[in-house]
Amino acid sequence: MNKKSLMQKAAAAPHMVWSVLFIIAPLIFVVYYAFTDKEGNPTLGNITELAQASYLEVFIRSVCFAFLATVICLIIAYPIAYFMSKAKPRTQKILIMLVMLPQWLNFLIRTYSWMALLEDTGIINTILGYMNIGPLHMINTSGAVILGMVYNYLPYMIIPLHSVISKIDPRVLEAASDLGCSPLRVLVRVVIPLSVSGIVSGVTMVFVPSISTFYISQKLGGGNFDLIGDTIERQFQTAYNYNLGAAMSFVLMLIIVISMAVMNRYSGEDDGGVIV
């Protein structure tokens, strides 16, 4: 028994080393920088500096944009995932590939492509021009920023939803219609409750990168919509204020942890303990 548990510990060692190196160590650095000044003396000054109106605005905007992007992703992704799971197994594999396909392109190139599409003299407005519509002002709006987030992170909503929905036993769905559920009611009463775990992981996988994203807002928002990610990047890249940047990262982490806790709590109450 002892021997075995020792073996198990040994087997887990690489994972431990990995965690310490790449998760724990950066965290310690973030916390260290966040609570020290330039000379390395302990201080709360970095955190209190963030209470300024201009920073608060950035935080609130980031949370709102990420929230909106997540909700839109969920609304778009759910029907896609649902109908994907109805397809034949081979078709499903191809569809998953197609969903992931844009991710093979570099993130920067994807975002630049959207710039080309959305610009006032861009591709969309040119086409609309032929139909005597527009030009519509799309680039450098908050909508364009959120669109950029939705486009980039949508696959991370579709994939977990699809994987949960496709695992629902079709006989359970038949049982529901056998007992009198119209197709819509089957969806509301059985499919959605049984896919809560997929919704939770999809929301997490979209919300977290959305709230910490940078670059999207710079390119599609024209610098009008500073987000936390951009502000942090600036502290490290141009202002060289590591301490303030770390403090922002620290607060961002807190926001994420709190959001996730709230959501898990809420969904946990809702479904009475589905653990898939």
């Binding site: 359970v172 529901a176 056998d178 007992l179 009198g180 559920c181 059985v190 809560v196 589905v274």
Partner: protein, 373 residues
């Protein structure tokens, strides 16, 4: 049957990928009847049930419910409920909510839901299980929840697809009794699928024997056992010796080189027929004192009786007797006229009812399983 017809299948056919799964079957089910589909794996029992439930649309033929053609009515609008083979309970709902599911769709008041769920729980002996997680119930308990869930809306017809298939023998027997009681109490028509012939015979009013997508015989359990229509039915229901015979005249048949008196008539003179003799209807005598003589090739103790294989004119008979005989012993056999049942020849003639391959069959089975590995 004086009750009125509740379900009629008229010339229903279904193919999958060009293969005929149901070959134009017709069947009437009456109110309050307990009907069982019995047949080997893959013969189309589940498909037939799913056609009645509305999950499968037949290629041709009509499905009639209470006098109305329902081919185009979706499953959720049919007054038929199903107990699924693997129960298919809602994993996100507890026992109470699983059973209440159908009522919640119809805006039934909370008090009435409570009353009716409690009534159902009492019927299936699950009082006190309301709050339990269905995923943690035993097979027998899940089974009961599935039955209660399907019965709460008082359907006219309950479809049960091998509902006891996953249970152990003891529990099976108990549940058989319980199901039969529930059916009597509620007066609901049960259409039951099984490939266990004993279960079919002991529970049903009517047994529908199926094979190869066709109905082989419809009848009461005693009819099916005593008057099988062809070699398939005779072999599938219980043990049978099925011998080639010639009908010499009414009440007179010749097989194994001997002329027998029997109770069947109405065949052509010298018509070739299949003769069925059940193993328990054969009496063992001293050699020369019976109608046929043979050599015992094997004897197996089965508890109530011995199962004796006897070689008579190179045809191996199975005989069940409470008296022990020695292997290689010469014995005679005696058959009463009412133990002989004559059947018309069919596509199944000569395929069943000879026990010479009895032990080979087992060897073949074990060969097959080795190949799979």
């Amino acid at each position: 049957m004086n009750e009125k017809k509740i379900i009629e299948l008229k010339n229903v056919a279904k193919s999958y990928d060009g293969e005929m799964i149901l070959d134009h079957i017709s069947l009437d089910v009456h109110e309050k009847e307990f009907v069982t589909f019995l047949g080997p794996s893959g013969c189309g029992k589940t498909t037939t049930l799913r056609i009645i439930a509305g999950f499968v649309t037949p290629d041709t033929g009509d499905v009639v419910f209470d006098g109305t053609r329902i081919n185009d009515i979706p499953a959720y609008k049919r007054h038929v409920n199903t107990v699924f083979q693997k129960y298919a309970l809602f994993p996100h709902l507890n026992v109470y909510e699983n059973i209440a599911f159908a009522l919640r769709l119809n805006k039934v008041s909370e008090e009435e839901i409570f009353e009716r769920v409690e009534e159902m729980l009492a019927m299936v002996n699950l009082r006190g299980f309301e709050k339990r997680d269905v995923n943690l119930l035993s097979g027998g308990q899940q089974q009961r929840v599935a039955i209660a869930r399907a019965l709460i809306n008082k359907p006219k017809v309950l479809l049960l697809d091998e509902p006891l298939g996953a249970l152990d023998l003891k529990l099976r027997k108990d549940m058989q009794n319980e199901l039969k009681n529930i059916q009597r109490k509620t007066g609901i028509t049960f259409i039951y699928v099984t490939h266990d012939q004993e279960e079919a015979l002991s529970m049903s009013d009517t047994v529908v024997v199926m094979a190869d997508g066709k109905i082989q015989q419809i009848g009461t359990p005693t009819d099916i056992y005593n008057e099988p229509q062809n070699a398939f039915v005779a072999d599938f229901i219980g043990e049978s010796n099925i011998i080639d015979g010639i009908m010499l005249d009414d009440y007179k048949v010749r097989f194994s080189g001997h002329e027998f008196e029997c109770l069947d008539k109405g065949f052509d003179k010298n018509e070739r027929v299949d003769v069925v003799v059940r193993p328990e209807d054969v009496d063992v005598t001293k050699p020369g004192q019976g109608m046929l003589d043979g050599v015992v090739t094997s004897v197996t103790f089965k508890g109530v009786h011995y199962e004796i294989i006897v070689n008579i004119n190179n045809f191996k008979w199975m005989i069940q007797s409470t008296d022990y005989v020695e292997p290689n012993q010469n014995i005679g056999i005696y058959i009463e006229p009412d133990a002989i049942h004559i059947m018309k020849r069919s596509e199944y003639s000569g395929k069943f009812g000879d026990y010479s391959s009895f032990s080979d069959e087992l060897e073949k089975l074990s060969d097959a399983s080795e190949e799979e590995e």
